[in-house]
Subunit: 99 residues, 7 copies
């Protein structure tokens, strides 16, 4: 049996111009192969840009395809804040060191 | 199989006059095609206006239809605070960067 | 198919005299058509008045009937803090803008 | 069909002498008709009195019977902090106004 | 039908010497009739004593038997912080007055 | 029927040298009779020692066997922060006195 | 019956260079035998390094294999913040001592 090694969640910190809207961005990302759903939240709005948080879930997310789609719309990925990979989506567990 | 690309949730920050009421606004939005439910909360009340938060869920929400319905009642969308799209509604996931 | 456009939840900020009691008010509201349950919490007690929070759930809540029943008992609605309408009760979703 | 108008939950702020104990009070209230369970928590202990919080759940709670049972044991109801009535127990919902 | 009037939960604030240990105390209490489980947490340790919190659940807890077992091991009950009685275990419900 | 009097959970505050590692300690404890699982979290690291928190669950935990296994690896139990015993694992319940 | 003594969860505090990315690291770890899923969160980004938190779940995690895979990619394990071992994954339980 081949193990599934796919990315199951990506959380990205992204800077984008006001246009296209987060709605268009969400629609664009949600139809990419291997993605089952996309959530985009608004961190902060500036005069010319918006800082957004993109949460993507799926069973085989290809980060390069995601990044290219984001850049094609004039936005840029600042950081990859969370990645989950494997047969099962594992959540980050708060430990005693995080308190 | 065609992938569903529909918007599943919209959270809007809206400024409205006191009339029509949030009840009328909720009723108006809740019967739009592709919308299964609407929640309206009150952020702040001013002498002439109310700042409200509209959470809309459905399987194929058309933002343009929503925005026009809002504007027809004399209100205006300040920002789109959250969008979710895809086959499955994905929630925003709190990360280490959000603490 | 006709879409249900009914109000499913109302949260009201209400000022009332000490009598009738919140118990009588809860009983009165709970038997109104379209209402399945009522919760009344006490915000603050003054010498002559009580500031209360009324949460009403149902499948076809008629706000005018609710307001008239409240006023008939000598109380007054200060604000409608939350409304939910539609086929399904949608909860308010906390976003990055609410932190 | 007659609608059930019964009280399903009562939360009472009560002042009582040290005797009888909260255990006796809980047992006394729990056998009253229409009551399925009682929880008594201790807010504060003074030299002669105890300030307690009584949470009562049931399907047809009669407040007058409850109050008389409480007073018969030498205690007094300070305030009714929450009431729920109707076919279904509705919880108080936190709104944007409560933050 | 006779109504069950039994105590279903007791939370006790107890002062005990270091010996016997909380483990022996938990084992002793857990085999008393009407008790299904015991949890003992450590509030504070002093040179000669330990302040502990005992949570007991069951369907017919006899407080006198519990107290005697505690005192037989040299410990003493400071206060009964919570009692639940009735056909069903009712939890304390946070109200607007507790915020 | 004999009542099970076994310990179902132990939470221990332990001081250990850096070696053996928490991984070896977890493996050693997890195979002891009556133990179904072990969790070890890191409170604090010093130059020569580590302060750790051990959560052990099972149906018949023998504390003496656990303590000896811990001491055999050069570590020492500072305090027993929680014990649960009985037919059912009872959780500590937060009360009004804990706020 | 042989008891399973395997590690079921590891939470690691790791320092890594910017390349390879957390995505490559997550993919590499997720295909190791005995691992069912990996989550990597970003604690902090410096000019040359990233401090990350790796949560690994599985039924027989071999820490030495994990550490070697991490080091082969130029990263280093700072501390093992949590380990869970045994037949069942036990969570760390917050006690009165942690408040």
């Amino acid at each position: 049996m081949n193990k599934l090694t796919g990315i199951r969640r990506l959380v990205l910190d992204v800077l984008k111009p006001h246009h296209p809207s987060t709605i268009e961005l969400a629609e664009t990302l949600s139809v990419i192969d291997g993605i089952t759903g996309v959530n985009i939240g608004l961190y902060e709005v500036d005069q010319k840009t918006e800082n957004i948080k993109i949460t993507i879930e799926g069973d085989q997310i290809d980060y390069n395809v995601v990044r290219q789609a984001i850049e094609k719309l004039g936005a840029v990925v600042h950081s990859i804040d969370e990645v989950a990979a494997g047969n099962r989506l594992v959540e980050e567990v708060p430990t005693l060191q995080d308190r």
